[in-house]
């Protein structure tokens, strides 16, 4: 590990943000957003290495955040992991440009494995 990878967590529930953070462990730097608009702003500002994105976000939904990021040229290759309790949303999320879809509830180790796969 040469440089610290940064991860943007977009999740409206504080407990789940903490869960994601702790699950992924100390090897990363974390930025947190609790709604869609904030997520979009932080993504543009910090250019994180990975985004962990919930779909049910107040203000601007996760899918909107996803498609907007994919429209922006410098963000189009950014790895994005969608986490959602909507099992039906998998196809929609992948179609909108998500790299991985993780269904809630998830095991901390599984989420870490998915993220590490994207940023080895």
């Amino acid at each position: 590990m040469t440089t610290t990878r940064s991860i943007l967590i977009c999740e409206d529930e504080a407990a789940l943000r903490e869960l994601v953070r702790v699950s992924l462990g100390d090897g990363f730097g974390f930025i947190e957003a609790s709604d869609g608009v904030e997520a979009l702003e932080l993504a543009r500002e910090h250019k994180p290495d990975v985004i962990v994105l919930d779909l049910m976000l107040p203000g601007l939904s996760g899918l909107d955040v996803l498609s907007r990021l994919r429209e922006e040229a410098n963000q189009s290759n950014l790895p994005i992991v969608v986490i959602s309790a909507w099992s039906d949303a998998r196809d929609e999320a992948l179609a909108a440009g998500a790299d991985r879809f993780v269904l809630k509830p998830f095991l901390p180790d599984d989420l870490r494995a998915v993220v590490q796969e994207l940023v080895p």
Partner: protein
Amino acid sequence: MKRRSLPLAARTVFPTALVAVLVAATFGVMLLAVSAFREAERREAHSRDVTVSTLRAEQLVLDLETSLRSFALTQKPSFEKSLRQTRDSLKTQLAELQQLVAGSPEQRKRSRELAQSIREYEDYYVFLLLSIAKTNPGEARSPFAVREGKSYTDKIRGRFETLLRTEDRLARQSAQSADDRWAVALTLGVGGLIAIAVAMLAFGIYLARSIARPVREVANAATRLADGHLEERLNEGGPGEIGELTHAFNAMAEKLERNRDELEAQNEQLRVSERMKSELVSIVSHELRTPLASVLGFTSLLLTRDFDDETHHRYLGIIDAQARRLGSLIDDFLDARRLEQGKLELLREPIDVAGLLREQAELFAGQSARHRVDVAVPTGPLAVRGDRDRLAQVVGNLLSNAIKYSPEGGRVELVAERENGTVRVEVRDEGVGIPQEQQSQIFTRFFRGDAAASGISGTGLGLAVSREIVEAHGGRIGFTSAEREGSTFWLELPAADGVRDGKEKR
């Protein structure tokens, strides 16, 4: 009052009877004509017989005269014999003639007079001359005798002539009367036939118009109805059974259409209910997975990693809170189910609403950093009777909504007061508000407006359950809202007298 029209049976029987009477009358007239014709023929034949018989008698009178003259000239016995034979024949012939004319009094009289004249001629001249000729032939041939005979025969000839003329006249009269009757009968018969033809044609048209056409219309309408055009209707009315038929048809079509509409409405309801059920499954799984994510995630962390005591304890707290949230979600779904089945059971205990409101405000104030929950309740108790947990659920629901639907943060006010025997509670927020077109559905189960699209989680059960609870307490619930300005939800409960929280004052 509706005029009861004649049944079809009567309508068909009357014209049929009319035609039958016409046919019978015409047939009768024809029979009369034929009988008149035959009568004329018979009369003509009779006249011929009378004439022939008369002429034959006249000939016999001539023969008698010739035989007499011949005997007077020759005294030959053969002539006397011939005379006597002729006289016998004449007698027979006259008898026949009298029989022939027996039907006509006039001719009977004339034939009797004729017979009388012939008898006089025979008695006073023929046999007298015969006996004179036997004794004194010269005298029998005297001009006087001849003249005397001629006067008799002239008289007889005159009578014959009268008889023939009268017969001729009678025959002509009879023929004339037969012709007249024939002409009348023919006129009547032809008139009758025309009348029958007209009546049958009229009857046919009447049948076609009053039965065949309406029946055809009903059949066509039934076909269209069978093709699914249930709005098909007939003009009601028409004679007797046709009227009943069209009326019954319309009633049937009406019923069919109503049934179809009902079925379609039920079908639509089923579709909506089916869609709501599948949405419900989706909502339930989503709503359960979210707290479950915390419960499972933190449990797994605690099991696999080491944390300091404080963190360890905090994670247990999260697990506890989220597990409770799971429990209350399940309660919500069960409540909805109970409400659907009308099985909500409520306590009727004395409650202080003011205390309840403060508790709830405190609970929710800690949940969001971006929201400020202000409480304005009177210092004294606000007493009502009811189920404390259920009312807490309602207030919690309204507060939770106020926070959820003001994602930008802001002030949430919880206000309560007592007015005119009711306790009124208001929860005001500065959130997104409710669009005008969605306001009527806001208390419908599983209705969530734009919430799902805006990323606001929830089951769409809260307000539906709240309303049921408030109404079961004899109260009312409502709201005022403007889009992007916020909403105020209020509820009113009947006030009770002098109650402390949980305990009766008296």
